[in-house]
Symmetry: D2
Subunit: 372 residues, 4 copies
């Protein structure tokens, strides 16, 4: 059951890194939306390998094909299936490791769970699985933009100890895409790129953080008590490969403050209720409050490194893993579109859920003032 | 749909803080388990208000009644409904605030979402809602213990800037329960208690972190790609009131390391695959690896403070919120049983899910060595 | 997982016939609806035992209590929990049968599934479980009526071989409630009552059919391909105790016709698309077409009879079941409110699902003419 | 949400009749099973058009491709995606009807629901959608056979008024496949074939019934109170195109009997509890009792007929639909594999659900005798 995500705007991904194809089925997409293959492909291109010298060299075009759910360029309310064929699969690179458990990879746990696994590459645990998420996210982004004017923008905020302080209220997609590491601060970006190059040359890897904001989200999205907006966002982020931490709003920093310092004061912003500060990160009691949603994800350094490592095989025998093949020294630049996609999927799902409890025809923003 | 949690071991909570009752329906509890009302009550007592001088004084016995699903002391496979009546409800304390949006509370967002709310207390957003979770968690804990020998133990690891370093491998429930702040390190605990008392006397509040370990979890639990164990744990934690951050294993700290420093080396531990270090936090690729699961949750300072605050009412008018009534200066001590309960619920759900994909009669630990 | 029903308007029932209580949690009820305890109680009274001389004499007031989700008489968007205490439980009546499998009852299958069961009465398999459904159905009916003007009316159309031909387009609730067997045709109703009395005096039981119509359902409800409206209705009906058959529209009769005889011709009915005949039963391709939804359910004769029966006990030993206690000679009159409730729940769920895929603010009836 | 079916063994179908492809994603398939493309193709060939002179002549090879979830011929526990390309799509046949609502088709209701539809063929409402179900069903059948020895066999029991009485206890697949109408009684089959040919020559269509048995199903499958086995079976059957009626066990006939005539007497069958008669149809209280599960589905005559019909277009204007193209005079022969597939999917899902509530390692048949 673990390959389904969302309740009303629901996606189901399929595919292994070296199987025939990876893809996604999107269910619940409202009818009548223009579904642009170009938009979807553009997002996949931001995610794909080989796009720059600081990511893995695996040569995959990641070309998307829409096989259902779209007619004359528009969604028709039926499941949208998008398929991406695996091209540059080098099973041979992996055959030597078929019995070996690579440290901090999922080889062992997949065996422990299923008793069998596709050892030719990361299989289902590979980041290739996220192709389906990114494709579906492109559709969700469009719906959010058209229907609500919502913008979802993500960027690399820290690589190891090189950090950038970015204003989530004004950052643009252009800023993010202006360099290969996807950090809107050019000066910091260059330092990050140098760091990653150095680490790559050592055959090592680094981690860091990705930030994401969603601007223009109307108040009222989120479904207490278990499907709180931050809860679904946290699940979405921790479902991404290599993620180890999640923060919303003031996050861990906020836990050092006192209530009198942390509370966000309410004010009237042109007839809408707003807050002067945003330590809540745009969510209160699990529901969006109309302010910018701001979250942060911590990604560990990639497990694949080009150094010899001691480990065991599937018979429990000690052995040495000899490095080989291609690797990503740092997942962060490619994680950016994945994060945006997952955030958009969560918001789109909760937007549809909110429509379902509103009086027919009532605008999402009718409450609360109009009912006061 | 937001009041359901879990797939196979599924709970559904109901109730507002000042409504007639709060409670839970537990579905999917395997039949034949001894369901001990005493065990359930004991967990509720760890959560209940008025238990010590550093928590709110609201006088609630929080007495649980099991109204279904149990026969002659045992589960029978049908839904177990547990009801707890609200006793000490003082709507009058809240009437003056019925139109006012308390800063960093959910008053405004509930209005924004529903256009109506139970203003007599926190309503559904109150921590009283977690009573149902804690009651259900007591059952989940028992199943995990009886079936798998799993122990779930949580503690307060930091209050504002007062931190305790605890060994998750050896900490015991007795250590945790040895003081009212639920920090296993007595010396640090006293400092925490002093801090909270001081903050309380100022009518202010503080936040901090809670750690939780699950020991003895067999390898194989977790359901990639969306229901990864850490993803479901993150959702569970962020669904708790006042939580703002989640970390598993090395968490944010780990994002400063290189892959060569972060990877956990595999070794043979008496015929089972294990790791020498545990930066993965007991989870790899979304599936438990048999090592101790270790996570951390950041809780913000409670929004309720006994100081005047500027805010607006539901007509958008600026107004001042005058403090009044009872409050929790720090949620952490009472959050401990909530965290344990949610972790137990997630593990129990994934345990049942794992049973469903195993060959009939195959032990959970049969793989992978036996199939090598 | 089997005690949940519905996706957006979702109910979860709990309770055994002789446990502490039975009840329901309703999730997804839109906020701001008047929730009338009287309306709910009125429906429960139509279902309750002891209401006439042709049903079981078990004396249960079936008094409903709303313990959550309602504030100042209105729904607030949170789970509505309704509890009904079991009063007239005579476990002693059943103790003698605790090891015996009553023919065509669920005693054996519950043991086979769970290995344990509440033998004091029908337990979870008792029709008392439907109390929660009927209570929730009362809320669903109100929403359908207020929001869409939909009427759901059910009646007893046949008892064994005594049949009534009723016009589903004009039948009223008053007609149905005008006699204790709930057949709108008074003459036929009297024959049915006589038949049931006769059967009861012999300690035997009879079955028959219940018809149900939903009038005023807008076109567009139903979710192909698996959650077709007729599919969800069929599931709802077959989930009722003693049901063995389901028909929609022309049902089995229609399978004897040719396509040229069966097709419903489309015409323009005051600007709306309608049909001249209604063999489709108001549903085409799994979606409502605006015509009256008409379905029929076949109920077998109740398994409880006051005659000695040969059977086996839980050790597989042949034994004789000696009759004792109270019994319902015919479930049909009490099944009427159950059927209405389940139909209302299905329609209400699909109404909310339809809202979720509509453009914000678009009326349900905007399509298709307005977009032509 | 309507394109998902099942809880643990869950399928999600996608595709329109004239879109790029149709297919299915199977989630929850236990790992380690041999997945035979030949077996899957064989089932698709039983369903495909053009297979005989009494079905539509549309020339579709319906060739299946497995693109994920299988490694070295075995399931690996990840989603299995199967894709079938549409080849013989003649949109031109349909262009003339793009604005016209064909009587008793889903053209109008799809417009009413979605405001847009793929008019080039039946779109999502076409029976081509069932390709995904049949492919997934082939996998479910194999699991049921290997794990439990269950056989699922379906046949055409009646075409209009030509009926065959078949013994569900002994009928074989070979009997069913011995003629093109799939009725095990050769003499009756010939009459059916003649009837269909005659109807086809008139450009008309006929309906009838399909019966299905599942033999060897262990006691204990089914999940009261809403996911009763017969409830899920009824939903599965009514989700098939053109189905209008469902019966289990004695069905409608049984509603004419008295309880004393209808009850199935329990006896000891070689240490297992069994019944002398099977009016319950293998299910009691929503749970399988170990006897043969027997159900019947009524299919209306196909809506597509080659005769002129009066109807309206999407502007509400009266118009005449002129016949054209290919059509199925009778869906029954092709419905047989669809019915088997859906029954297998329901049983496989409930088998996995049952595993989840059993003590680890306990055989499905351990209860009740062993615990008595």
């Amino acid at each position: 059951m673990g390959s389904f995500f969302g309740q009303l705007f629901r996606i189901s991904t399929f595919g292994e890194s070296h199987g025939g194809a990876v893809g996604v089925v999107v269910e619940g997409c409202p009818p009548g939306f223009e579904i642009s293959l170009d938009e979807i492909q553009a997002e996949l291109d931001r995610r794909k390998p080989g796009q720059s010298k600081i990511v893995t060299a695996r040569g995959e075009p990641d070309t998307a094909e829409i096989v259902s759910g779209v007619f004359e360029g528009k969604s028709i309310g039926t499941p949208i299936c998008i398929v991406v064929r695996n091209k540059d699969a080098r099973a041979s690179d992996y055959e030597r490791w078929k019995d070996i458990y690579r440290p901090s990879h999922a080889d062992y746990t997949y065996d422990a769970k299923y008793g069998i696994r596709n050892w030719s590459g990361g299989g289902r645990a590979s980041a290739r699985e996220t192709i389906g998420r990114v494709a579906a996210g492109a559709i969700a982004k469009r719906i959010l933009k058209e229907r609500l004017g919502v913008e979802v923008i993500s960027w690399v905020s820290r690589v190891q100890n090189i950090e950038a302080r970015i204003d989530g209220g004004s950052v643009t997609l252009a800023d993010v895409e202006s360099n290969i590491v996807r950090c809107p601060d050019q000066t910091v970006a260059e330092k990050m790129i140098e760091l990653i190059k150095g680490v790559k040359s050592q055959g090592d890897s680094v981690g860091g953080t990705v930030d994401c904001v969603a601007r223009g989200v109307p108040a009222g999205l989120g479904d207490p008590v278990f499907d709180k907006l931050e809860a679904d966002l946290a699940k979405a982020m921790l479902s991404l490969p290599a993620s180890k931490a999640f923060e919303i709003g003031s996050g861990m920093e906020g836990t050092y403050l006192k209530g009198s310092e942390h509370n966000d004061r309410f004010v009237n912003k042109n007839g809408q209720v707003g807050t002067t500060t945003n330590r809540s990160g745009g969510v209160q009691g699990g529901i969006s409050n109309g302010e910018t949603i701001h979250l942060r994800i911590g990604f560990k350094p990639v497990a694949t490194i080009l150094m010899p490592q001691q480990t065991v095989n599937n018979r429990g025998e000690e052995t040495e893993l000899l490095p080989r093949g291609r690797h990503d020294p740092c997942v962060l630049p490619r994680a950016v579109p994945m994060v945006e996609a997952m955030v958009a999927l969560v918001l789109c799902d909760h937007y549809l859920r909110q429509l379902a409890i509103r009086p027919e025809g009532a605008p999402l923003t009718a409450w609360p003032l109009s009912t006061a």
